[in-house]
């Protein structure tokens, strides 16, 4: 049982490193960074308490929102998905990403208190 899991994981890693383009790997690294930040914030909340609850929420939502927007960007610039996004060019995807982030940051900063 564990054998098959390890073999699946190693196969996945191999495919990932070879098949994915650099551009996507850059975005994946960014996503991984956001994930870590969010997880660490959550850990702090669990350990120490939710004292400035609004601040915790603002930070956590910021991470979640940024992760989602990053995922959207990755989907849209992946050349394999070109068929689904005929009207949206890569630049357009990036511009959308930036605009959505502006709104997200505005809300987060308002809520952080």
């Amino acid at each position: 049982m564990s054998n098959s899991v390890i073999s699946v994981i190693s196969r996945f890693l191999e495919e990932y490193t070879t098949k994915t383009s650099n551009k996507l790997k850059v975005v994946d690294a960014y996503l991984f960074y956001i994930l870590l930040t969010g997880a660490l914030q959550f850990l702090y909340c669990l350990l120490v308490g939710t004292f400035p609850f609004n601040s915790f929420l603002a930070g956590f939502i910021s991470c979640v929102g940024a992760f989602i927007l990053g995922v959207c960007l990755r989907i849209q610039i992946n050349p394999d998905n070109k068929g689904d996004f005929l009207t949206i060019s890569q630049e357009r995807a990036f511009a959308d990403f930036l605009l959505a982030h502006t709104v997200l940051h505005l809300v987060v900063i308002n809520f952080i208190g």
Binding site: Q41, Q90, L106, I112
Partner: protein
Amino acid sequence: MWKLTLAGVFCLVLLTVALGAQALTPSHHLSLSDVDRLKGLLSQPFTDLASAYYSIVGLSKLGASVADENDACQFLKAQLDPMSVDSLFFAAEASQAIADCEMPVFNETRDILLAAVSEDSTVTQIFRAVSALSSLGLPLASQEVVAALVARIAKEDNVLAITTALQTATRLSQQAELGGILEEIEDLAARLDDLGGVYLQFEEGLEATALFVTAAYTLSDHADTEPPLKEDQVIQLVNSVFSKKSWDSRSEAFSVACAAAALSSNRFHVPVIVSTQGPATVSHSQPILHLLVTDILSNPLASANLLVESAQAVASKSVVLSQAPFSLRNGIFELNFMASQPASGYYQFTVAVTGDSRLVANQVELKVKVSTEVAVTNMDLSVVDKDQSIGTKTSRVDYPFKAKGSFTADSHQNFAMNFQLVDANTGVELTPHQTFVRFHNQKTGQEVVFVAEPDSKNLYKFELDTAERKSEFDSMSGTYVLHLIVGDATLENPILWNVADVVLKFLDEEAPAAIQSKTLYMPKPDIQHLFREPEKKPPTVVSNTFTALVLSPFLLLLILWFKLGANISNFSLSPSSVLFHVGHACMLGLMYVYWTHLNMFQTLKYLAIIGSLTFLAGNRMLAQKAVKRLASK
């Protein structure tokens, strides 16, 4: 739907009131002091003919006269202007009221006065002319006057005009056709306003109402026809005219005086006033009930007989007296009510005044109080043990003496008091309204009052359970002075009797209890406000550690990107891309400034400016990038 229900309920109430209501009796009349006040107002010195007229004629109606009649007569003669109808009227009427005062009659006088009697003059002018002619003894044609009046009434359809027309008709010959004018009384009466079923008056005011009453009765007497006013209406008119006891002007006083004279001596309706002389109370010391029967001017009625139709006790509804006549002595009607041996209490008397068919409101309801003296008998004081094992110690105390020894009661004992209250004259048991037992602590000034209640046999019992009542006494042991208080509206001798001294012993005596009442009005201790405690924060070390921990993935990101070979070698230094990056950096900086200094509105303002610049630059830059990308494909 609600309006119908309301109307229905109102009708029902009205019906009940109407069925249950007795005949209306006057609630206002002129007492002797009121009559004096009226005379006083009319006796004030007069300065012109009109005021002279009001004073002289008004006083004569009240049966008085001016201070100096000769002077008045001279004044009238001097002030007379023989060319003016008004002047002639005032002078002629006033001189009639003074004995041996004749006004000079000139040749032109008659012509002037007759000329005023026509359809073209006002009713007042006609009235004054006709009155002057009649007072000066000059002949006049009654039928012509009637014709002129009828014509004027049709034109001047107001209350005062018609009243004046009625007054004019009283000066005309009895053979004249006064029927039409007599009918005006009824029409005018219909115009009166009913206020609450008690008052009936014209909206023009007191003077108009009083003048109407005078005119109606004077004309009715003159034409020998009963006025079409019902008994209730007459009483309501009496209430309206005589409710005002101080009058604004001489003419108002004059109108009231005329109305009073008309109502007290006309041939048809004479309202009668039955009143008590002093309070309506009888007792053994004063067994006679005195009643006065007068007309509205407070003059005693010459031929009146007073009869008690029934006297009913209010409490028991039993009739004590029926069809008993009053006896007249020195103008006052007397009845020895105590002869019927009534028990003490209130009695509803219905008395009727007979002897004159003109009397109006001659059935009157009165409330009479029979008071008596109370005596306290069989006063027994005792200290009873709660478990009743030890016999009671009873001692009898006689009023008004005090018990010889003091009584002691502690928490195991009850203090008891039994007594009877009887009527001192008849021996009947009484239950007065107020029977209180008062304990007074001389030292602390405490006062505790209890009520003694009668049992079914009208024996009064009071028991003090020392343990149960200790809260009322604040558990203060000591000597209490005991008083018995008996009072009632029908008792002539209320009792305050110091019966005994009682020593009460309480358990759990608290000394500060006495001080409590004194500190009741002292400032209370200050209340310190507790501010909201700030939340517990984690130690700074912990939060600093975690801050560093949370920022650390950024380093990881940079390392990963470096490893992946991300670089900025493709950075084109075109103005749009530079502007874009600068704008974007500004936006991120604005976020920080928003966090520290700004509010949402200011931020949005700056964001709009920077954002639009960044957008334009970015759009340009990305377009260039796209072109480059597509070209290289």
